[in-house]
């Protein structure tokens, strides 16, 4: 430690205006950055440079003890592991999540989106979050894993109970309700795994994992840990990304018109809205040894909150970071970087793209129902608007 060292200004995540003014929240973090001491303990890492550094150095910043508050009865695979175990998991799982196998789901996902739209289009209104953003990723998970679609609402119930303020408040033991839901979800997954084992065949990731070549296979515990992580990491994230994106689109007729006019350009809209208002506020890490970061000494065993959303608004990395710009040609870190980059990124992008395209094909004109204001529940594990009541002209109508 040098004489010139001054402790970083501290703040609390919960006091930030994340619910309704994320531009200010991220600006406050950058004003106090690059490393912000948190009132509840630990450090927020906010610049894109430092975020990338932490995520690329698992030997210094471990994932192993970072998820203790979540409530999974088994370690989640692969998010709670460091290399080299993590490397093995990724090698076994990546073939299911690569762009080509995911692209094969495109028609299925589009059909699920169209079916959800069918359910509310004639009423000329919906809550985009409850009627689209919540059910779609649950249905996609069930289809992808080869589980019955009728289990959708049970799955959503467990997922709601388990997720919550875990990551952001630094909790290290899950509340009872979350722990119970975790046990029930595990029992559900175990029963399907046993059923698949008793009657081999069928479609989906579970069947394929069990049918895979013997040798270096995942154990049942590992498959369960992976399934559990998928439910926690692959559902709410897509829900929140969709809700946040449509909360922006509803205010931007120009962007909507672009989507209608140029479906080929939809991926650029998806990327920019993920950068601007992605669902992941922070990812947790624990420092393994004493280390210096952004000029700040970090003691071994410190909790680090790696603020990928803030990094995506880093003014030293992006020009006019708070504006939508479809021509940035700059990487964002909404899916993280390094060994733990989101393995579901290709599936998430497919879901977002399918909703952007299909929704605007059927409902090009829509607006917020008067008197409502989208707000993200805060503090919460992810940043996502809780409700987005929309109204639109009847089917085939124009504004």
């Amino acid at each position: 430690m040098t004489d010139s060292y001054a402790p970083p200004a501290s703040l609390s995540f919960t006091a930030l205006p994340v619910a309704d003014d994320r531009t200010t929240a991220y600006r406050l973090l950058h004003e106090r950055g690059p490393i912000v001491q948190l009132e509840g303990g630990g450090f927020a890492v906010v610049t894109r440079r430092d975020v990338e550094y932490v995520l690329r150095h698992p030997e210094l910043f471990s994932s192993r003890m970072a998820f203790a508050g979540v409530g999974s009865p088994l370690p989640m695979v692969p998010i709670e592991f460091d290399p080299p175990e993590h490397t093995r998991y990724r090698r076994l799982l990546q073939p299911f999540f690569g762009p080509r196998p995911i692209l094969a789901l495109r028609d299925k996902v589009t059909a699920l989106v169209a079916e959800l739209i069918d359910g509310f289009i004639d009423s000329s209104r919906c809550d985009f979050v409850a009627d689209m953003a919540v059910p779609l990723p649950a249905e996609v998970f069930l289809a992808f894993f080869g589980l019955p679609l009728r289990d959708r609402d049970r799955l959503i119930g467990w997922k709601q109970a388990i997720s919550g303020p875990a990551v952001v408040n630094g909790r290290t033991t899950p509340p009872a309700e979350a722990a119970n839901a975790g046990v029930e979800l595990h029992a559900y997954l175990i029963s399907h795994l046993e059923q698949r084992r008793a009657e081999p065949g069928g479609e989906g990731v579970l069947a394929e994992l069990l049918a895979g070549p013997s040798g270096d296979q995942l154990t049942d515990s590992e498959i369960l840990g992976m399934s559990f992580q998928f439910v926690l990491a692959g559902l709410d994230t897509v829900t929140s990304a969709l809700g946040n994106a449509f909360a922006i689109l509803v205010t931007r007729p120009d962007l909507r018109q672009r989507i209608v006019d140029d479906p080929e350009g939809v991926p650029d809209v998806v990327e920019e809205l993920l950068r601007l208002d992605g669902p992941v506020f922070v990812v947790p890490r624990v420092s393994v040894e004493d280390v210096e970061l952004g000029g700040v000494p970090i003691p071994a065993g410190s909790r680090l909150f790696v603020a990928v959303s803030a990094a995506n608004r880093d003014p030293s990395s992006y020009e006019h970071p708070d504006d939508v710009d479809l021509h940035r040609e700059r990487a964002h870190v909404a899916f993280g970087v390094g060994a733990h980059r989101c393995i579901g990124s290709h599936l998430a992008r497919l879901e977002l793209r399918a909703v952007f395209e299909e929704w605007h094909r059927w409902i090009p004109h829509y607006r917020l129902i008067a008197g409502t204001e989208p707000r993200a529940p805060w503090p919460h594990g992810l940043v996502g608007v809780g409700s987005l009541p929309l109204e639109f002209p009847p089917r085939g109508g124009t504004r």
């Binding site: 090698r91 990546q94 073939p95 999540f97 690569g98 762009p99 080509r100 991926p267 040609e329 700059r330 990487a331 964002h332 870190v333 899916f335 970087v337 390094g338 060994a339 980059r341 990124s345 290709h346």
Partner: protein
């Protein structure tokens, strides 16, 4: 102009072969690889530079 992917840095984000399928392809693990020997034609030079900028892992290099 030539383009190359550092396999040690790539973690399969898939941006390169999504944005520039003329220059990159995916391997069985979903990681990016250059097509052929990485030679970039005049008309694809801007595309190669875009891939460099959009790679989240800074794994792509263009050499003159």
């Amino acid at each position: 102009v030539r383009v190359s992917v550092d396999g040690d840095l790539c973690f399969g984000h898939g941006r390169c072969y999504t944005l520039a399928p003329e220059l990159f392809r995916d391997d069985d693990a979903g990681n990016g690889q250059v097509k052929e020997d990485g030679t970039v034609s005049q008309k694809d030079t801007a595309l190669a530079r875009r891939a460099v900028r959009e790679c989240p892992e800074h794994a792509i290099t263009v050499t003159e």
